[in-house]
């Protein structure tokens, strides 16, 4: 460059301040305007874009689906395992612990057969049956629970005390204790002022 460094620096400073002949000359140039057809095309492009619904990113939906699926599977297996653990009776657990488990020994792989996973044994949960239910079941024959026509509520409401006592006695004599118990329950409901046991003893 022929100009001295100070002069160059000063020229740049003046130019940046807007105090420069270069800018003055440049700004006298005619302003160039964008062609109308181009402007119209770009505005139409913008309208078209704005009319489209907001797009999710391409990975958004598949990722959300995959995440939901994985979560559902994890929750399912966790809940299943917890349910099974809760249902195993303590005795069964103790037996499992005390009994030496030959299955736990490492399987021999000498014959190179693929190791098949053992199917899980079904665990049947037996809950204790209350004594009064046991008695009822023992005293009830199949015949006892067979289909019989139990009177309607309207009919029962019209029964006299004597009818109730007669019916209950009859059932007891026939050994149909469950059915008799049902009549006694209803008798107490429809004749609350009467004592059925006293009436049965009295007759």
């Amino acid at each position: 460059m022929n100009s001295r460094p100070d002069e160059t620096e000063q020229a740049l400073t003046d130019y940046l301040k807007g105090d420069s002949d270069l800018s003055a000359v440049y700004q006298t140039a005619d302003k160039i305007t964008a062609p109308e057809h181009l402007s119209a095309r770009i505005k139409a492009m913008a309208r078209e874009e704005a009319a489209q619904p907001r797009k999710h990113r391409n990975w958004f939906i598949p990722t959300a689906l995959a995440a939901s699926l994985v979560l559902a599977v994890i929750v399912y297996f966790t809940v299943s395992r917890q349910t099974v653990e809760q249902k195993v009776p303590p005795v069964a657990k103790q037996e499992q612990e005390s009994t030496p488990a030959p299955q736990q020994q490492a399987p021999k792989v000498a014959d190179n057969k693929p190791i098949q996973p053992k199917p899980q044994e079904k665990i049947v949960v037996k809950e204790p049956v209350p004594d009064h239910i046991k008695d009822l079941l023992q005293n009830t024959s199949r015949h006892d629970t067979a289909d019989y026509a139990y009177p309607s509520a309207k009919e029962l409401r019209s029964w006299s005390v004597q009818q109730w006592v007669k019916k209950i006695k009859q059932l007891r004599n026939e050994g149909k204790h469950a059915e008799a118990a049902r009549y006694i329950t209803d008798f107490n409901k429809y004749q609350p002022q009467q004592d059925i046991e006293l009436l049965l003893e009295g007759n």
Partner: protein, 176 residues
């Protein structure tokens, strides 16, 4: 721009009307070819339209717009004008000799003559120096903003502008 990002078409129209002539003028003078300017101009606005949902306010809109322009301009040069593309990739110091002054007799001193001479000198500048000069003249961007647009340091932007101004001054000295 935020209103446009949220889908207001009128906001885009206002934005476009405010910047279109400035941007188009800058491109015509930078590329020296209205057809090429049309193409880059359209690419710039298409990119802005397409990426509206990803817009975040980080700088002035003008700076954001010129960042897109700068990218599209380099794409254009890489595709059609390897020589100009090279000028963006080289250091400013290497470009210093690219436009040696040709002494011209001071034949015309009227305004039109000065203007013609200035544009002739601008055409001879390396693309990257011309770009900085035009960005400052057409859009009013300061050195820091130009540096941000071109992803260079402020000192580099200043150095490139110094070369551009000095060459233009030297070329214009018989026309003052």
């Amino acid at each position: 721009m935020e209103a446009w990002r949220d889908g207001e078409v009128r906001a885009f129209d206002q934005l476009f009307d405010r910047y279109r002539d400035m941007l188009y003028g800058y491109l015509v003078r930078q590329l020296g070819n209205p057809a090429a300017a049309d193409e880059v101009f359209q690419d710039v606005w298409a990119a802005l339209i397409k990426n509206r949902q990803g817009y975040t306010v980080r700088a002035k809109f003008r700076t954001y717009l010129f960042q897109i322009v700068h990218t599209k301009l380099i794409d254009y040069y890489r595709q059609f004008d390897r020589h100009s593309a090279l000028s963006y990739e080289q250091h400013a110091e290497q470009l210093e000799t690219a436009s040696e002054e040709q002494d011209c007799p001071a034949a015309q001193v009227d305004q039109q003559g000065k203007l013609a001479r200035l544009f002739s000198l601008l055409e001879q500048l390396p693309a990257v120096q011309r770009d900085i000069f035009l960005m400052h003249e057409e859009s009013g961007l300061g050195l820091s903003e130009i540096a941000e647009v071109m992803n260079i340091s402020r000192d580099t932007a200043k150095s490139r502008l110094r070369y551009a101004v000095e060459k233009l001054r030297r070329g214009m000295r018989h026309y003052q």
